[in-house]
């Protein structure tokens, strides 16, 4: 509770106490009026001042003005007819109490959402004459050595020079399993070192580090507004003046008609109804409920490691009908591994693998890496005369013996007859001294969660799944079949992918594209919603995407869609609920069935309920 809040609370209590005392005072009308002015002014003087300022600036339709008119009007009715001033003071009292509650609730949600994305490190430790000194991370140049102690946040991106530790990356990725790091590993700012002391060489400045970029993203997230938010803002603009005009009409027309028809005008009754109208006219519940829901949804998803760049993307996500995936790095790990070893007759498995690994030992091609990883018995010093034949393979001498490893074209060129197999992925044929040794099947491996993710997407309203890949047909088909993806487009260049996505856009309602952010920035930008996966440290992806998933788990795409659906549900509930109650109360008060107490509920009570409902969007754990 801030000072401002406490001050208001004191005023509310003081005014309430005065009202209790005044309940026992029975005196002359005008004296009572003067006495009742005391609590009224105590609790509402600032509202009156603001209302006056609004009139002065020719912007008289704010809620302060409405409250001022309603309460002054209620005093007038009291003076002229009922002699009861309780209502005027109570309306002001309830209004201020409601405002106080709203302000407290909003502050609380601001703080709790703020805490979710609070990954900002306050200091960096620099070793100086054997002592650790805390400095502002802004003042640490790239290339400095910093020390991270157990329990501290890594302030700046860098590489571990010495030390071993486990990192808690949950603030960034939502992943609860700690990640082990040791000398030579790169570490991301925002992670918490759990077990050991790390010496880190910084690679960037603080303002370019992951943590700063994410914070900037989170802070600007609210700037891109969704349709419901724009609707509410527009609605509020029309609603308040419309109700004011309605109130004026209610105060004048019916009694005038009655008077013309020769009946008693009941002017004061209608004035009272009109004032009730004014109290209901504040659009607070809507204006606070909708943006707060989106804000809570964005905060909740960031806790799950999903950064949504604006509330309009939450809205789009909830309507996703078509999902296009990049293959490598998104559905597959992007790492090749040996899937099968098929030696020729009389050749051992080990012999075949060793020959292949020897040929490929100095290559950095992903397939070569997989072969090297599969066999660790190669003595690199014995490998000589390595010759790379572009698009075919490699030949080399191992211990003086001529080896060849490559595709079928290489075998044909060497005049060796190779077996043919219909397997997904790449086949590496191996020969030794012109004799065929057999072949090895190497392919990219699927992520464990890729298939469940594709299935789950179909359950959340996605009707069409498409895979876009630069790989050749067979490998792409195999992956698509394994994952039950509807459509495959293969052998694509990045610009083809962007073109295909815009084709999908014209055929479908809402197209979501998920990629790993490498080379597909234009596609991310083309899709209605571009999701960058595993984007820690990839600047281009964070820039181009609308939604950034911090780790590389495809199930997070499903989670993002589910969160968005929950948020949109709450938004709809809040709109219907607020409009329904307000409309109902307006009708009741026009008929004279509802007095000011109900009007205050329609204003303040609905707002409180809308706020509480909105905060449900924060809870995304069990989605």
């Amino acid at each position: 509770m801030t000072k401002k809040h406490k001050k208001i609370l004191v005023r509310i209590i003081a005014a309430a106490l005065m009202m209790v005392v005044l309940a026992f005072v029975d005196t002359h009308l005008w004296l009572r009026f003067a006495l009742y002015l005391l609590p009224y002014l105590t609790v509402g003087y600032d509202i009156l001042i603001k209302a006056a300022k609004g009139i002065y600036n020719r912007q008289p339709t704010d809620e302060c003005f409405l409250m001022a008119v309603a309460t002054v009007g209620a005093f007038a009715v009291g003076l002229m007819q009922s002699g009861d001033f309780n209502e005027a003071v109570f309306v002001m009292l309830f209004y201020q109490t409601g405002e106080l509650f709203q302000s407290l609730a909003v502050n609380k949600s601001r703080r709790s959402i703020g805490a979710l994305v609070d990954i900002r490190p306050d200091y960096a430790n620099i070793e100086c004459d054997g002592k650790l000194e805390r400095v502002d991370p802004y003042d640490v140049p790239a290339g400095s050595e910093i020390v991270v102690q157990p329990g501290e946040k890594i302030p700046i991106d860098g590489t571990v020079i010495s030390g071993i530790s486990a990192l808690d990356t949950s603030a960034l990725t939502g992943e609860s399993l700690p990640r082990d790091v040791q000398t030579g590993d790169s570490v991301t700012s925002g992670c918490i070192s759990l077990t050991g002391v790390l010496h880190v060489r910084t690679e960037r400045e603080f303002c370019d580090s992951t943590v700063s970029r994410i914070l900037e993203l989170a802070e600007s997230a609210a700037a891109v507004k969704s349709n419901p938010e724009r609707f509410v803002a527009k609605f509020a603009r029309i609603y308040t003046p419309a109700v004011c005009i309605g109130a004026l009409a209610l105060a004048v027309l019916p009694p005038a008609v009655r008077a013309v028809m020769g009946m008693d005008g009941l002017w004061l009754d209608w004035l009272y109804r009109a004032l009730t109208f004014l109290v209901i006219s504040c659009p607070c519940a809507l204006v606070i409920g909708i943006p707060l829901t989106f804000f809570a949804g964005i905060g909740g998803s960031s806790r799950a490691g999903i950064l949504v760049k604006g509330s309009s993307y939450l809205e789009l996500l909830s309507r996703a009908r078509c999902v296009a995936f990049d293959k490598t790095g998104t559905l597959t790990r992007g790492e090749f591994s040996v899937q099968g070893v098929f030696p020729a007759e009389g050749v051992s498995r080990e012999e075949l693998l060793q020959a292949a690994a020897a040929c490929e030992c100095s290559s950095s091609h992903p397939i070569a890496k997989a072969l090297i990883k599969a066999c660790d018995t190669v003595d690199r010093r014995l490998v000589t005369d390595i010759e790379e034949l572009g698009g075919m393979g490699i030949t080399a001498l191992y211990n003086g013996v001529r080896l060849a490893s490559g595709n079928a074209k290489l075998m044909a060129r060497l005049g060796i007859s190779a077996d043919n197999a219909d397997l997904p992925g790449a086949l590496v044929h191996v020969a030794r001294d012109r004799a065929y040794l057999g072949y090895i099947a190497v392919s990219d491996t699927l992520k464990d969660t890729a298939a469940p993710a594709v299935q789950a997407l179909k359950k959340v309203g996605v009707t069409r799944t498409v895979m876009l890949t630069g790989d050749r047909g067979q490998a792409a088909q195999a992956v698509a079949e394994a994952l039950m993806i509807d459509e495959v487009h293969h052998s694509l260049l990045p610009e083809d992918k962007a073109r295909l996505v815009s084709d999908l856009k014209s055929a479908n309602n809402t197209v979501l594209f998920a990629g790993d952010g490498i080379n597909d920035a234009p596609v991310l930008a083309t899709a209605h919603i571009g999701i960058a996966m595993g984007a820690l440290g990839s600047d281009a992806a964070i820039e181009a995407a609308d939604v950034v998933i911090m780790d590389d788990d495809p199930l997070k795409i499903v989670k993002a869609v589910r969160i968005s659906k929950k948020v949109m549900n709450i938004v709809r509930q809040n709109i219907v609920f607020a409009l329904g109650i307000k409309g109902g109360c307006l009708a009741l008060s026009a008929l004279g069935l509802a007095g000011m107490p109900l009007a205050v509920f329609a204003d303040v009570g609905v707002m409180v309920i809308a706020v509480l409902n909105a905060l449900r969007a924060l809870n995304v754990n069990r989605i």
Partner: protein, 72 residues
């Protein structure tokens, strides 16, 4: 050019009013106010001087919302 400023404002409707006042200021291409993050994001028109435009924005916002504050 886009820049973001911290603001102080009490009610969401007032935040919307500040947004409209800021957007209507000369030299401002678009403005967006988030009541939740208490931030105003202003996109300046080509060649506009940020300082003088923001001074005018602050003045207009003050007029629209008497207790609204932009922290420049």
């Amino acid at each position: 050019m886009k820049k973001s400023y911290k603001i102080e404002v009490d009610c969401p409707n007032c935040a919307n009013k500040m947004e409209r006042a800021a957007a209507a200021t000369e030299g401002v291409l678009s403005a967006s106010v988030s009541f939740m993050t208490l931030r105003m994001t202003v996109e300046f028109a080509e060649g506009a001087d940020e300082k003088s435009v923001m001074a005018q924005v602050a003045k207009n916002c003050k007029k629209a919302v008497s207790d609204g504050e932009i922290i420049l």
